[in-house]
Amino acid sequence: MTPHPTATPDLAVTTDGLTKRFGDFTAVDHIDLEVRAGTVVSLLGPNGAGKTTTVRMLATLTAPTSGTATVLGHDVATDGDAVRSLISLTGQFAALEDNLTGRENLVLMARLRGYRRPAALRVADALIDRFDIGEFRDKLVKDVSGGQRRRVDLAASLVTPPKLLVLDEPTTGLDPRSRQVVWATINELVAEGVTLLLTTQYLDEADALADHIVLIDHGQAVASGTPSDLKARIGDLRVDVVTVDAADVGALVTALAPTFDVTVAPTGRMVSIPAPEEAADLARVATAVRASGIAVDEVALRRPTLDDAFLALTGQPATDPDADPTGSTPSLELAS
């Protein structure tokens, strides 16, 4: 394990063998991570992969079982108060007070950060303008829509300029339009130079927002790279072929394998083929399938999912509880 240059000022986050166990369950298993100042890093993985636990340790809400984590030069275990004054987080585990209005929540957060009342009101009102909260600022948070709530949530995490912003699944559960709004807000923050650590279950979200993606599964970092690196390895679009009879999958693979890079999905009736040339590849696969004479339910072109990413990058489906990514922890040195 190479020692991390924790004193380097341009590293916002470094972790070294960061591990969290709850009884027999290892939620986070020796994660080494670096987030360079001014970049956006996304922890991408399915539910239960250990993303939230990792972020909670960085935010000093959970103590690591072993390993170290340093945020902006401060150790989370020994210097928690300094960490808390420099970072800001929002997401599934850091909620708003439901029975206060959006504005009251923002004023409370500003005052807890140390502003006196008049300054706190100015800060809150500026955030209300900036995040377009005006229309529902005096509604109780429990009565606003999910998208509106996330905006108040984001605003609440910006009452003081954080050196590191941590967003835990900022769009999980949002409708597509609210998701776009949250993305737009995040992109603005990034344009202003905020260092952002983002967790998500959505490949497209990591792709759209992050400079660097770390795939997490079963508490381990199983792959990492820039979005274009990873996409090059996953393949952009894919053609899926679903057979009528599961028994035909073998024959289908035999028929297609000489021409295409075929992956068999864990569902048993489906094979999947990268389609860098999109419709042209779809047509070629369809022709080959017809020529094989095997009965199929579906031949379809689709965007890669998180499962495809895990299959392509680790050879294991993300959802398989027995998956055992045995590869040594990949280097997480970030591309700048």
Binding site: L61, A63, A94, L108, F136, V181
Partner: protein, 287 residues
Amino acid sequence: MTATLAPTHPTDPGSGGTLAEPLPPRPGAFARYVRETALLVGRSLRTIPRVPERLSDVTIQPIIFTLLFLYVFGSAIHIPGMRYQDYLLPGLIGQSLAFGIIGAGVATANDFSTGVVDRFRSLPVNPLSVISAQVIGQILEQVLGLVIVLSIGLALGWRPDLDLGGAAALAGLVLLGLFAFTWFGVLLGMLIGNADAMQGIGFAVVFPLSFLAGTFVPIAGMKAVPRAIGEWDPLAAFVAGVRELCTGVGAHGSWQLEHPIPAMVGWCALIIAVCVPLALRRFRRAD
């Protein structure tokens, strides 16, 4: 709806001016603690009018119990040498305190499960402020409930035989009990961590204990098993102590019933000595 969802694209870079508001210098640790605690108590109080039903435990419930026992069950209960009002009110005060355990637990479990406590903990705020605010907010709610119980009692003919010293002793005993029971409730709420479970467990344990404590009928008249429990129920010492202060009539049975005030102070000291450090540790133990 479209309008609400449209993102703003601030055209002037001065929108970053939001972040330019200078923070005043950080006061000393104690001043910060007082300030943060006051802010967080303010947050709890401010939410009360938004969810008035949450207060029903300390408002409607004691009124119902008072009326129910005074006018329904009380008609069949005869306490030698005492009007039932004078017997009942100390019991109701005790029961309010016991139900306060459930209230504090439910509120704490709720705050912990919704993540709002995590938000506070992620700020540069003293953890002790967060938990102090929880305890103070709960005590204020319980005091409101007690004021209602005492008022309705006085309106319906309760006449405590108290001089100034006796009233001060009563107030002191009640506040000590409130403090101890609230910490117990906050600890339970943190340990259980789920408001519904807390409610269920609270009613399964606290509710029966609050009835066995000589609250509504004398412990001496109960069957052997409930009598044995009641004689050593901490709440029984409290109820007997309040009753002795208000009526001058003591209870008989166990040591704690015959020396209710030292017993109550002892119980409270024990509860505080156990629950406060455990609650603080549980709160600080970050997981």
